[in-house]
Amino acid sequence: MSLTIKHLIGLHGVPSDDIQTILDTAKTFREVLERPIKKVPTLQGKTIVNLFYEDSTRTRISFELAEKRLSADTINFSKSGSSTKKGETFKDTIRNIEAMKVDMIVVRHESAGVPQFLTRISKASIINAGDGRHEHPTQALLDMYSIRERLGKLKGLKICVIGDIAHSRVALSNIFGLQTMGAQVSVCGPLTMIPQNIESLGVKIYTDISKAISENDVLNVLRIQLERKAGTSIPTLREYHNYFGITAERIEKNNKDILILHPGPINRGVEITSEVADGPYQIILDQVTNGVAIRMSVLYLLGTRQ
């Protein structure tokens, strides 16, 4: 099976056959990860650059591990903030990297649109590891994989993404990917954290966390951070926790069949209590393992695409 897409910029517009192929291929790699020797030679001779303009240890390690398991040669390039402030423009950096004959670029950037920009200036296959508050497609794919692994399907499920939707790159990718696979997606959070017109994407908005828990099959709980401008979206973390936090009490009262995901890192006692984060409803560590398999799948499918 080969993908119709050449790059993975986001899940917006990616056909369901492609998503299915990525998820199915990830299953094979998931089995590889259980073997004593976890390495396959599929991307031998391919060069992948991990271009991280924003700190994200977890995502970078997950990609790096996936690349190593596929026997690719990898280069890490990390920088933060605007490239031009430091003398070299982003485009020049890319041209330099390009001159080293790389096959794929995994990119994380604070500005939305950078992966798309890369497809215009580079011949390499581009994988978005998170751009601004736009998309983070491999995160959504691993979420989908993990849900499917646990519940056996995606079609017909109701999934609610909870937290700071406006500043999240995970939310949009979840919405696009899950909707393509036939699931219903909703969001829940204080209205200051819900971006304008999101309902135009066919997304229901909850502001009552209990209702969100009782009316959904899956909760994808996002990490809450106090923004630079503390106090402008939410007054305090305590208030957020009291009104939107996922607690064992809320789950037991509203929906004991709920499945809980969290992209990490967890802010214990804020968006989720430790009791829930370590408890029976969640699959947070499975997500981490599945993340490697999903990234292997994406790298393999794009890297061997004819």
Binding site: A112, G113, H134, P195, Q196, S200
Partner: protein, 429 residues
């Protein structure tokens, strides 16, 4: 030297002129009008302009020339050349240069560099020293040196107290404050807030950020009796605010840019920074409101907000790239395409918006088609079809979102200051 311009459609709504005529110009002055001009000699150069319109020279009252400070992006000369190429004989330049136009010396420097050009360059002085929003610039000195209006463009006049002072002070000179209406606390947004910003994951800038300052400015104009001009109006609500204020007799005027009546935020879908400007492109509803504002006179004039930026800066990541696009060389054609061809404005209306009204706002003399008047005119062909090619622009920068666009209507010639720009060259006449 005499030149004879034949078969023009002469149009000047201010003089109620709208008929065919020839024009004889000697040493830069109109010496004869009519259809049977005889006082020509063998040296007289004759031009046949059949089918073309001749109007009082166009004015763009919102241009960024970048000199002094960023001569790599535009200079007074290249910007003036771009203006002439686009059909303008007069421009007003914004004070966000480095140093800012906050001293008589800078006003003089600009006027001095511009003095031998066809295009008249009118400096707009900064409202506050270094546009920092603290103390007033030496407004009287700037007026004496030749500043035609005051603005801290790039940002709004920072505080209501400063705005009040500036308006009261400017009353003494009958000068307008031109405000870039944007509430600074929202300015980390990179595009209009709405469905598209949600879809693209770019930091949103709500249209209410503009409306708040427009409302403030109108209230201050009413309170002080001063004159306020709303630069590059872009939101539906702001148009309504100006319309209501005008109804009450408040001294408010407004301009709109061609991009705000031509494009919506939908074009940002491939994150092209050549569509990034402030105020940002908004929705179809806003575009329609701008057009109706132009139709009913709520919006007095059209100005380009010509904002040259280097390729390196525009090629930055979207959230870091600077705001602004070129305008001078596509402005007239976009007006003809989007407003006249679509029957929103008549050619008479267009001349008001691009030539007469900006002069009234800035208190500049309006050129007349009369003997002994200085020839300050634009000749354009409303039917000429051409494709925008930024590589041929006279501007030093290339950041136009309209590159490769097919447009109908173009400037053919401009005449001012005893100079003519025709067929891509300047000649003394």
């Amino acid at each position: 030297m005499k030149i004879l311009l034949k078969n023009l459609n002469l149009l000047n709504p201010e003089q109620k002129i709208n008929h065919e005529s020839d024009l004889l110009i000697e040493d830069g002055k109109i010496i004869e009008l009519g259809s049977n001009i005889t006082s020509i000699d063998s040296q007289t150069k004759t031009f046949d302009f059949t089918g073309m319109y001749c109007v009082p020279g166009l004015v763009d009252m919102h241009v960024h020339l970048r000199e002094p400070g960023r001569e790599d992006e535009e200079t007074i000369e290249t910007g003036s050349n771009a203006a002439a190429g686009g059909g303008f004989t007069e421009i007003a330049c914004m004070p966000n240069t480095n140093p800012a136009i906050d001293s008589a010396e800078v006003v003089k420097l600009i006027k001095d560099k511009a003095k031998n050009h066809l295009v008249n360059v009118h400096p707009i002085g900064a409202v506050s020293v270094n546009r920092a929003g603290e103390g007033l610039s030496p407004i009287a000195e700037l007026v004496d040196a030749g500043a035609v209006a005051f603005s801290d463009d790039g940002v709004a006049v920072k505080t209501s107290a400063l705005l009040k002072s500036a308006m009261e002070y400017c009353l003494m000179f009958d000068k307008t404050i031109i405000d870039h209406c944007e509430e600074i606390c929202f300015s980390d947004g990179a595009m209009n807030e709405g469905f598209i910003s949600t879809l693209l994951g770019l930091p949103p800038l709500p249209s209410v950020s503009e409306d708040l300052i427009v409302a403030r400015d109108i209230l201050m104009a009413e309170y002080t009796g001063g004159k306020i001009h709303i630069a590059h109006i872009s939101s539906k609500k702001s148009v309504e605010l100006v319309r209501n204020a005008k109804g009450k007799g408040i001294k408010v005027t407004a301009e709109a840019t061609p991009h705000h009546f031509t494009l919506t935020d939908d074009v940002l879908k491939n994150y092209d920074t050549n569509f990034k400007m402030s105020p940002p492109l908004r929705t179809e509803e806003d575009v329609q409101a701008i057009i109706s504002g132009l139709k009913d006179g709520t919006i007095d004039c059209i100005a380009s907000d010509h904002a040259p930026h280097s390729v390196e800066e525009k090629e930055m990541e979207f959230i870091y790239a600077p705001n602004g696009i070129l305008g001078l060389e596509t402005e007239l054609a976009l007006c003809l395409n989007e407003l006249v061809s679509k029957n929103h404005l008549t050619l008479d209306d267009l001349v008001l918006k691009l030539s007469i009204n900006p002069r009234k706002i800035l208190n500049l003399p309006i050129p007349k088609f009369e003997t002994n008047e200085l020839a300050n005119l634009t000749i354009f062909d409303p039917e000429k079809i051409w494709t925008v090619d930024v590589s041929k622009f006279k501007s030093k920068s290339k950041n136009s979102p309209f590159d490769k666009r097919l447009l109908k209507g173009a400037s053919v010639a401009v005449i001012n200051n005893s100079k003519m720009f025709f067929e891509n060259k300047f000649t003394d006449i």
